[in-house]
C-alpha cells in the first residue's frame, strides 16, 4: 500500500511494476529518495554525467498546488546547464518592478534593474509544478540520449539500513514491498523527510508563530506584472501583510498573513477565502480559486548534510520561510554542488571525503538563507512592541526619504552564496573584481555568439583571458577543458573584462563543474592548475 498524500498536477512517472519485486536486492550506485525539484535536478545532473541513478518517489507525478513561484537567475542558469532552463524562461513571467504599500499608501517602488548581459532574467514567476515538469521533460530527453536515469513512481521508501559499504532500502509499491541496495543515497524527500526520521537525525531551528493563507486565483485582470506587497493591508480581514504576484496562465498568487491563533478549517472554507479575495480585488472581481492552502513555517537545518553514505539535499536538509524565495532555489544549488562531487566519487576519481565539502559548503549556504529569511520574518512579524515601533518608523520614513527604503524588508530575494574561505578553494592571486573572487559562482556575460556560462558547461574549466593557458587536459583522470579568450575580439560588450578582470590586463580562472571559481591568477602554470584541481577535489595540494 502506498498512501496518496496529495493530488497530481502532471502524471509524469506512472506506476509500473518493477522486476525487483520478489528478486534478490539489486545494488545501485546512487539512489535518490524523492522526485521533487531537488531530487529531479540531482538525478538529471548525475545521469548526464553518466553516473547511473534511480529516483524513488511515492507519487506518480508532480503535486498540485504551486508552493514555489519565484525562481532566481542562478537556478535558471543551473537548469540551463541541465537542458531545462529555456522551457522555464519561455513559460515564466519575467518581472522587475515591486511596489510596497502600507495601508492604502504606497511606501515606495523598486526596480530590480537587472544588469545587462546575462542569458537568464533576474527572476521569473513560474508555478512549481511546471518547474518540476520541465526537469522531468529534460530527464526524458536525457534518457533518450542514453543517460542512465530511472524514475520509479509510487515507490515509497519505508526503511533504511545503513551498512559500512552500502545502504539497504525498503520500498513499498502497489504490488507489495521489495528491497534494494545503494552505494550512495540522496534524501530529497522534503521538509518532513522520512529518511531523516528513520535515521533518528535532528532538525533544529526556529518556528515562526504565524499562519499564511495562499490563494492562487485565475482571472484576466489588467494589474501590471509587478510584485505588490502590503504591510497592514487596507482590505477587510486581510491580516498583517498581503502579497499579490502574477504567474503564467493568468494565475495570481495572493498571500495573507493571518497570525497565530486561527481556525484553519474555517479560514480554508472557500466562502471565507473568497470574502478576503473580494475585499482585495474589489467587489465583483471575476476569478476562480485554483489552489488554496494555509502554511506555517520554520527556519531550521540539519547539523550535517552528510551522514556517511546518506546525503541530504533540499528541504530535507534545511527549511526557510518563503519570503525571499530561497527554498527551491537553494535546493537546486544543493543538487548542483553535490552532483559533480558524487559523480567523481562514484567513478573513483575523488576520495569519499570530497562529499564532506558538500555539507560544509551547503551548510554555509543554508545559514545565509536562514539568516536572510529570519531577518525578513522579523520585519514582517515584529516580535516585540519596540521592534514594531522601529518597523513602522522605517515604513513611515521610507515614504519620504530614500535612505530608509533599503531597510524595508519584505523578503530579500535569493542570490547564490559565495564559498568564502572554505576548504576546496585555491589561491586568489588576481587583483580582479570581488564578484568573481574565489568561491563565487561565475557571472554570465555575452560572447560574440551566445553566453559565457553556456561555454563553461559542467566540467572543470580553465578560462584564460588575454593570456596563453597552460596545457592541462586532465588531472588524475579528471577532465579539464580550456577556454581561451581575447577580450579585444571575444568580448563585444566588454562585460567579460569588467566582470573577470576589472583593471587587470589578463588573468586565468579555474572554474568547477558547478561554475564556482576554484582559483584565479594573473598568470598560472600547469602545476598551479593541477594543484588547484587537487584541492578542489578533496585531495589537498
Amino acid at each position: 500500500m502506498v498512501d496518496v498524500r496529495y493530488d497530481i498536477a502532471f502524471k509524469l512517472y506512472p506506476y509500473e511494476k518493477t522486476a525487483a519485486i520478489g528478486a534478490a536486492p539489486v545494488r545501485h550506485p546512487v539512489v535518490i529518495i524523492g522526485g521533487g525539484p531537488v531530487g529531479m535536478a540531482a538525478a538529471l545532473d548525475l545521469g548526464r554525467k553518466g553516473t547511473p541513478v534511480l529516483v524513488l518517489d511515492d507519487h506518480e507525478g508532480v503535486g498540485q498546488g504551486s508552493r514555489a513561484i519565484c525562481f532566481a537567475k542562478r537556478t535558471l542558469e543551473i537548469c540551463d546547464r541541465l537542458g531545462a532552463g529555456q522551457a522555464m524562461v519561455d513559460k515564466g513571467v519575467v518581472w522587475n518592478v515591486g511596489k510596497v504599500f502600507r495601508g492604502d499608501q504606497k511606501v515606495f517602488e523598486f526596480n530590480l534593474q537587472p544588469e545587462d548581459g546575462h542569458k537568464a532574467p533576474a527572476f521569473i514567476n513560474l508555478q512549481q509544478p511546471y518547474f518540476e515538469k520541465y526537469l522531468v521533460d529534460a530527464i526524458r530527453k536525457a534518457q533518450s540520449d542514453g543517460c542512465p536515469i530511472e524514475i520509479r513512481g509510487q515507490n515509497a521508501v519505508t526503511g533504511i539500513t545503513v551498512h559500512d559499504d552500502h545502504v539497504g532500502v525498503d520500498i513499498d509499491t502497489p504490488d507489495g514491498p521489495y528491497q534494494l541496495e545503494a552505494d550512495w543515497l540522496i534524501a530529497c524527500d522534503g521538509a518532513r523527510s522520512p529518511t531523516r526520521d528513520m535515521l533518528g537525525l535532528r532538525f533544529d531551528g526556529r518556528v515562526f508563530e504565524d499562519n499564511f493563507l495562499i490563494a492562487d486565483v485565475k482571472m484576466t485582470a489588467d494589474f501590471p506584472t509587478e510584485r505588490w506587497f502590503w504591510f497592514e493591508p487596507p482590505f477587510k480581514d486581510s491580516g498583517a501583510s498581503a502579497l499579490l504576484h502574477k504567474q503564467p496562465d493568468d494565475i495570481w498568487r495572493i498571500d495573507f498573513q493571518l497570525g497565530w491563533d486561527i481556525d484553519r478549517a474555517k479560514e480554508l472554507k472557500p466562502e471565507n477565502i473568497r470574502a478576503r479575495v473580494d475585499a482585495m480585488l474589489g467587489e465583483g472581481a471575476d476569478y476562480t480559486l485554483e489552489w488554496t492552502s494555509i502554511y506555517t513555517f520554520q527556519c531550521r537545518r540539519m547539523e550535517n548534510f552528510r551522514h556517511g553514505r546518506v546525503l541530504f539535499a533540499g528541504d530535507s536538509a534545511h527549511q526557510v520561510s518563503p519570503f525571499g524565495a530561497r527554498g527551491a532555489n537553494s535546493g537546486v544549488q544543493d543538487a548542483d554542488n553535490l552532483a559533480w562531487k558524487l559523480d567523481l566519487v562514484v567513478k573513483g576519481r575523488a576520495p569519499e571525503s570530497l562529499l564532506d565539502s558538500y555539507s560544509q559548503e551547503r551548510v554555509h549556504g543554508a545559514d545565509e538563507n536562514i539568516l536572510n529569511s529570519t531577518r525578513a520574518t522579523d520585519f514582517l512579524t515584529p516580535k516585540s512592541a519596540i521592534s514594531k515601533v522601529f518597523r513602522n518608523a522605517v515604513l513611515e520614513l521610507a515614504q519620504k526619504h530614500a535612505f530608509a527604503r533599503p531597510l524595508v524588508n519584505s523578503g530579500r530575494l535569493s542570490v547564490p552564496c559565495v564559498y568564502d574561505g572554505l576548504s576546496l578553494n585555491g589561491p586568489d592571486d588576481l587583483n580582479g573584481p570581488a564578484r568573481s573572487r574565489v568561491g563565487a559562482s561565475c557571472a554570465d556575460a555575452p560572447m560574440a555568439d551566445g553566453f559565457l556560462l553556456e561555454q563553461l558547461g559542467g566540467d572543470f574549466t580553465v578560462l584564460a583571458l588575454n593570456t596563453a593557458p597552460p596545457d592541462v587536459a586532465d588531472v588524475d583522470g579528471i577532465a579539464v577543458r580550456t577556454i581561451e579568450l581575447d577580450t579585444a575580439r571575444d568580448d563585444p560588450s566588454g562585460a567579460i573584462a569588467a566582470r573577470y578582470l576589472g583593471e587587470e590586463p589578463h588573468g586565468i580562472y579555474l572554474i568547477r563543474p558547478d561554475q564556482h571559481v576554484v582559483a584565479r591568477w594573473a598568470s598560472a602554470d600547469a602545476a598551479d592548475i593541477k594543484g588547484a584541481v587537487r584541492t578542489a577535489t578533496g585531495r589537498g595540494q
Binding site: 515601533v389 522601529f390 518608523a393 520614513l397 531597510l407
Partner: protein
C-alpha cells in the same frame, strides 16, 4: 574614525530644549514612534557600521 563621546554639541541646553520640544504634545506611542524615526535618521547620517556599533554599546 572613532565614536566621539566627548562634548560635541554647541549650546547643549538649547539642543536639549529642542529635543523635548519635539516631543511636546505627543502621546507615549507617538513619542516612541518619533524616537524611533529620529534614531534611524541619525544612524543613517553616521552610516559607518563601526561607529554605530560603538554607539549601541555606549548607550547600554
Amino acid at each position: 574614525m572613532k565614536l566621539n563621546l566627548a562634548p560635541n554639541i554647541n549650546d547643549p541646553d538649547g539642543f536639549y530644549d529642542e529635543l523635548l520640544g519635539a516631543h511636546s504634545g505627543l502621546s507615549k506611542d507617538e513619542s516612541d514612534a518619533f524616537n524611533a524615526r529620529l534614531i534611524l535618521v541619525l544612524a543613517n547620517h553616521i552610516g559607518d557600521r563601526d561607529i554605530l556599533r560603538a554607539a549601541l554599546e555606549a548607550a547600554k
